[in-house]
Symmetry: C2
Subunit: 467 residues, 2 copies
């Protein structure tokens, strides 16, 4: 009992739990620039499109079937479907679907996917409380965006402090920090005071979720869903007087020191309330690992220059060694394998001009023209090229050479997707689920959510029309 292996324990950590609680509870509404607020709307829309798009994935079916064993009250909508479930279960399922395609947002500094845990909790709670009999509990669209910015700030700042040790150790940092972000956002929605908010963060601190071993299974998207559920419930518990340690995040045997050997507290306190991590959020144009993106982008640019698959003798691809190490699968047999094939990425980029979930489907991956085109990609390693870049030369049957160099792929922070491109991505996921007209209205509702009286109209558009 006198053992203590925490020889490196930091007993002098600043009061992170209290500092964050004060920030969450008292930062002014829209206490940031218009640019930050617009990024929050982009984050929200991208998250919503991903959730709608995967609404009928088998992971969603399985999660909903399990939740239905609880006979849930119809409090909040399963996005992209007609079912309603209680708000924690809606947070769970929408968190799962938003990450199922691995197509959601990325905070590049920590590779956290921040919207999944936070937005899934926020929208489910806002939908239910929006029409609550207790008027003081009702939630406006403005409060939703405020909660999203602040919740994502909490999870990404905690992530900044612990990354990379925490991730290297085996934690899927999206879920492990996401519980805190979701708790912060829901505490804000519930208008908890500083002490109650500290309790919400404290309860959440005991529930980090997610191991990297789960990558490639449904439990990977379960992580943001589970984090959303745990965070929402933590805020509800705190609102009813449930207690936790007021130093639950930073104490030697609190969450952060238990799950990470690196904890740079400064990352949490520096410019808190002045710099917002949601500013650094990015959105994937392509439904695959980020290292393939420059190559897809380059081949899509070849297509824009008039190069067609029929003209190709070979495609000479030069990339950093890491790209082939992670995504060097030459002959992918199905959609999942293709997500780890830069060869398929190039073929899709040249053929379609993009590579969303459909272009990574097994049906497309096994098409004879795709197989043939993949085999014409000759990849070589050149470590003088950054891992975020790609150098592509199409050598045509007539002998011509067309060269494209992509320094910063579309979707990176240096070359972000435009609002129009985000809308097109949304349509690509939502049109088939909700129909083009409804999708268009939903996109407009997303852009206007910060000014909406509540989320009712938006949520009504995010589910299929009842016949």
């Amino acid at each position: 009992m006198a053992r203590n292996t925490q020889v490196t324990a930091d007993h002098n950590a600043p009061g992170i739990t209290q500092i964050l609680a004060k920030y969450v509870a008292t930062h002014p509404s829209k206490g940031w620039s218009d640019a930050v607020d617009h990024e929050a709307h982009r984050t929200f829309m991208n998250w919503l499109g991903c959730a709608v798009g995967a609404a009928h994935h088998e992971a969603a079916d399985a999660a909903l079937a399990a939740v239905n064993m609880l006979q849930p009250a119809p409090q909040a909508s399963v996005l992209g479907r007609t079912e309603k479930v209680d708000m924690v279960s809606a947070a769970l399922i929408n968190g799962i679907t938003s990450h199922t395609f691995d197509f959601d947002d990325t905070h590049l500094k920590t590779i956290i996917h921040p919207a999944g845990p936070v937005a899934s909790a926020v929208l489910a709670m806002a939908e239910h409380l929006g029409s609550h009999v207790d008027e003081t509990l009702r939630v406006s669209g403005r409060e939703v965006i405020d909660a999203l910015v602040i919740g994502i700030d909490v999870s990404c700042r905690v992530g900044n402090a612990m990354y990379p040790d925490h991730y290297d150790r085996g934690w899927h940092i999206t879920g492990s920090t996401g519980t805190l972000g979701a708790a912060a956002a829901c505490a804000r929605l519930l208008k908890l005071d500083v002490q109650q908010t500290a309790m919400a963060l404290g309860i959440a601190a005991s529930q980090p979720i997610g191991m990297r071993e789960q990558f490639g299974t449904m439990t990977k998207p379960f992580h943001p869903g589970g984090a959303a559920r745990a965070g929402l419930m933590s805020a509800l518990l705190a609102s009813k007087g449930f207690t936790a340690s007021p130093k639950a995040l930073e104490a030697p045997r609190g969450m952060m020191q238990t799950v990470s050997t690196k904890n740079d507290w400064h990352e949490i306190t520096h410019e808190l309330g002045e710099r917002f991590e949601i500013s650094f959020n990015s959105y994937k144009p392509f439904a695959c690992g980020i290292v393939i993106h420059p190559s897809i982008d380059a081949c899509a640019q070849l297509r824009l220059q008039g190069v067609t698959p029929e003209q190709i003798d070979r495609i000479e691809l030069k990339v950093h060694s890491l790209v082939l190490e992670l995504t060097g699968k030459k002959e992918p047999q199905d959609g999942l394998q293709a997500k780890f094939s830069v060869y398929h990425g190039c073929a899709a980029g040249l053929t379609f001009g993009y590579a969303a979930e459909d272009e990574f489907s097994s049906a497309v991956v096994t098409r004879p023209d795709m197989v043939a085109l993949r085999r014409k990609v000759l990849a070589t390693v050149d470590d003088s090229i950054d891992e975020a870049s790609a150098d592509v030369t199409a050598v045509l049957l007539d002998g011509r050479r067309v060269h494209v160099f992509v320094e910063h792929a579309i979707g990176s922070l240096k070359n972000p997707m435009s609002d129009t491109q985000l809308e097109a991505k949304f349509q690509g996921m939502s049109d088939a689920i909700l129909g083009a007209g409804r999708t268009s209205d939903l996109i407009n509702a997303c852009w206007g959510i910060g000014n909406a009286a509540n989320v009712k109209a938006l949520v009504a558009l995010a589910v299929p029309e009842r016949k």
Copy 2:
């Protein structure tokens, strides 16, 4: 991305997830001795008494109020109360109450409190499924005991493998291993096959719950409750086809290597299905930290020998230094402080002959006779005395000296509480909640649960009579 700080990662771990899944799914019903089966009944009864006893604690009120925000379906009972909630919420609340008094069972090798996560999940699921329209889902009392033995075996074996590093690092091992135990037990109740059971364990592996920093707050008992909920839900998800890594426990970035640097796989596989960790479960006779128990026991023995508080000049107490280090509070001001006062423990032992939750209430702690008697306790350190022992001499006003040495306190593995003593402990917690008659019937129902067609009659007795 090429970083890897897991220099000590074990890439050659045996297939723990599959091995445990096969055990959980295929071990024969009552595939153990009568003694093991009887211990399971004792574990179940002790857990149930603790849960009933704390039914109206403010932690229970707060948790129930939060759960009620979800408008839960009345599937399963909150023990000791009239409310019903959905089965995962019942698992949560009953898990909280069973650990609120810190009076539940202890697996001494790991200091896991094993019943909280497992029994709370099992009984809630059994109550709801017991009357399910789908007959194949119905659960007998025998299956409840089977699930309890097997679930506790899973969590304690995982605990054996990781202890003490995992605990020293900051994890509350009851919650972090309890999720796995609860998932195993519920998978068994749902009659999942080996592969589905592996998925249930895998989903649960992403959800270890509990930091030691929370000790002294409501979030400590939240840990077994949260573990019960997470484990039950993991089994439901697996039953509907949700997937996880088949190596989620043992892989380099699976749960165990992520949350512990010590992993002795042999502890999991050795004598699996032959030796059952529930055999080594112990039950606290006194509602406080285990190091005070020998001193209370010794003073209770003085009382049995006819010594009364009025006769006392002084009590000479000799104990290991650790006892005073952890529980050396001389003048406790309230019930919580008294739990860390060996002085109060001695006074209670001599005055009442035991020290349950009531004897640690603020009302008793502040009584003038208790204050006076505590001040007559003179404690000295003697490290030749084991920390599990106590040497007490009552020096009476007439000059007589009465000596008691307790080598193994009542409640330890060497000197377990008898069935009659466990019943008395149960009555002490339950009589005030359910009434003496109902409590007596409930005790009989606990002893008979292994032969009951379902849990219906037992659960009906575990809630107050409806007027």
